[in-house]
């Protein structure tokens, strides 16, 4: 059996276990490639009916407009219910301070909004597109990951996962994060997208953009990121290898306008996915571990 078939089947099995074990699951959907793959798999799995749980997006207010446009069109095409909750509302509600600086990332604040949404809708399981190959802390997380009411991940107290049996038992106040594509690599995702003919937001392909240099990365200018004195503003042909917020995602110089060309570039790349594109992981060695302990995906 082909490796993509094996991975797809594993993901379907996990989603079916979520549908079977939880009363109020949600699928975290951002319009990024990993969550698009999740939604695609879910829609295939449950045919002829629509996905029996809603898609949930935590809108940071810093999202790329192309990703939001795609989010709305894609979920409408699936006939799925899309719920959007806004980080700006959480900032107001909890009196949080806006991030400052040249790259004011609201990435860490998403956790508040997610927890609020979990409480508002009573979600007992949130399906996410995290992969173990992305980052060292993620390599250690279980597929069914129990979080307490603060969303905290306790790496030393994880449930052993045996065979393909998933223990979804949780207490009131806890919720489960579930990662069906844990065992996929970045290239598996791209190969699957090509095989299945899945559409992606336009920013995954090379286009012209005004950028400034940040170390060895390119950050696009936009209403949040303004060039300062000393910045050289250039027009470059770029694409996005990952799609996070405009304030924390760097672009990659690229000529790739087709899926084949994108895959060829990624195959030839000597830098990791997050290393090339996420400026928020560079803060410390344990940046992701710390964010996850604070309720992050």
């Amino acid at each position: 059996m082909n490796h993509l078939d094996t991975l797809e089947r594993e993901a379907m099995h996990i989603m079916l276990e979520v549908a079977g074990q939880f009363a109020q699951p949600a699928l975290l959907f951002s319009g990024g490639k990993d969550s698009i793959v999740l939604a695609h798999i879910a829609s295939k799995l449950f045919r002829p009916s629509v996905i029996p749980f809603p898609l949930l997006h935590i809108d940071t207010g810093h999202n790329f407009p192309e990703a939001l446009f795609f989010r709305d069109a894609y979920s409408a095409g699936l006939g799925a219910r899309l719920i959007v909750r806004y980080v700006s509302d959480s900032i107001e509600k909890h009196g949080l301070s806006e991030p400052q600086g040249k790259f004011p990332s609201r990435n860490g604040l998403q956790s508040y909004t997610l927890l609020d949404a979990i409480e508002e809708f009573g979600f007992d399981a949130c399906i996410g597109g995290a992969r173990r190959d992305e980052e060292k802390a993620r390599a250690k997380e279980r597929i069914f990951s129990v979080r307490d009411e603060f969303g905290t991940w306790d790496p030393k107290n994880q449930r052993p996962e045996l065979w393909n049996i998933y223990n979804g038992h949780i207490a009131r106040g806890q919720n489960m994060r579930v990662f069906p594509i844990s065992n996929w690599t970045e290239l598996d995702v791209w190969h699957y997208i090509r095989r299945e003919g899945i559409e992606l937001p336009s920013i995954y392909f090379a286009h012209e953009r005004e950028v400034i240099r940040l170390g060895n990365r390119w950050m696009a200018t936009n209403r949040f990121i303004q060039p300062e004195a000393g910045d050289t503003v250039l027009r470059k042909k770029v694409r996005y290898r990952t799609v996070g917020d405009m304030t924390c995602t760097a672009a990659v110089e690229s000529e790739a306008t087709t899926l084949d060309a994108v895959i060829a570039e990624i195959q030839a790349s000597t830098i990791s996915e997050r290393g090339e594109t996420r400026i928020d992981d560079q803060i410390s060695e344990a940046a992701m571990e710390d964010r996850k302990k604070n309720g992050y995906f």
Partner: protein, 413 residues
Amino acid sequence: MDILRFLTAGSVDDGKSTLIGRLLYDRRQIFSDQLELLRRQSKARDGSELDLALLTDGLRAERAQGITIDVAYKYFSTPKRKFIIADAPGHVQYTRNMVTAASTAQAVIFLIDARKGVIEQTRRHLYIAAMMGIRHFIFAINKMDLVGYSEAVYQSICLQCRQAVEGAQGPVPLLIPVAALPGDLVTGPSANMPWYHGPSILQALEELPVVQDIPPGETCFHVQYVNRPQSANLHDFRGYMGSLLSGEIIVGQQVQVFPSQQVARVKSIRMEGVARERTLGTGIYTIELEEELDITRGDYLLRSEESGEGNTEFTAQLCWFSEKAGRAGMKVKLQQNSMLTRAVITGILHSVNLDDYSHNAAPEQINLNDLVSVRIRTQQPMPRGEDSNTASLKQAILIDEVSNQTIAAVLID
């Protein structure tokens, strides 16, 4: 390209993490930014150039203590195969992690330090791997560089390994001399060991036969989710979604619902929404039945003549995962595939001493990391798995009724 899942077992100093690091490094699965970080860490730690072992240490506590506290998963591929590595820690107190890693592995690499040969730890790992039914055993007889790449040392350790595998009733092993640090026989040949003519570790991993097809035999389908969309266009649709574990299902055939023993006729079979006349191998299907029956998650659909009443009492091997000791009379939940039932441990028959595989009769309690043989009674009957090809009918977990923790792996006899 298919997938091979394997685990590595060895104690902290056998060079396990170095071997994994070497496989990833030589297959260029480490990116330059990760490598740069690794160089900085190696230098900060002990001034070394590049410590590949740091690659698998994901959490802060592990980096600080230089140990692996949990199973880490790593990925690499060659043109032939995608590999998923489960790196199970070697500490004796982490038996549960090895059992967890072993449960999904098709092969295991045992790390042996060529200076020490087979040690107590190796015997423990062998027993667990054999108990968990792993089909392919590979020994990486490591640190050959530290014994002068000596064929005589290799041969004498091979003998020890074969005897140890026999004692654990494991499959015929592959025995590969390796020097993981410099890289001999990890991904390529070794000029230092011209006397060895077998495969390198990577070659062996690429060539292991992997069976992924559905076991033939009796039809066994487990219901994971009942899909009732109740939408305008699918108003009366009631699809039983689940995995076919063995055999096949054909439209029009009769199936028996387990445990209720009701009989029904298959109305339709769908895979990913596409209707088909019969199932085709393993996979997830949506099945409609002609009759409206009360079928819920956890039920099985079996071939009608054969299902019988099932078992409510059986013996099983447990690996205990909990700090809280288990005792006879303890009530738990038991999950097998999607089936969940209450259960009670009615008796502890014996525990296994992993050092010499001897049995301690009727121990008082079951402690963390113990392997024990127990008697279990379940509230609901379980399908009989003893004559079946369906491996998952012999596998289950125990869940604590209060903490919801997974407290034991169950291998039903």
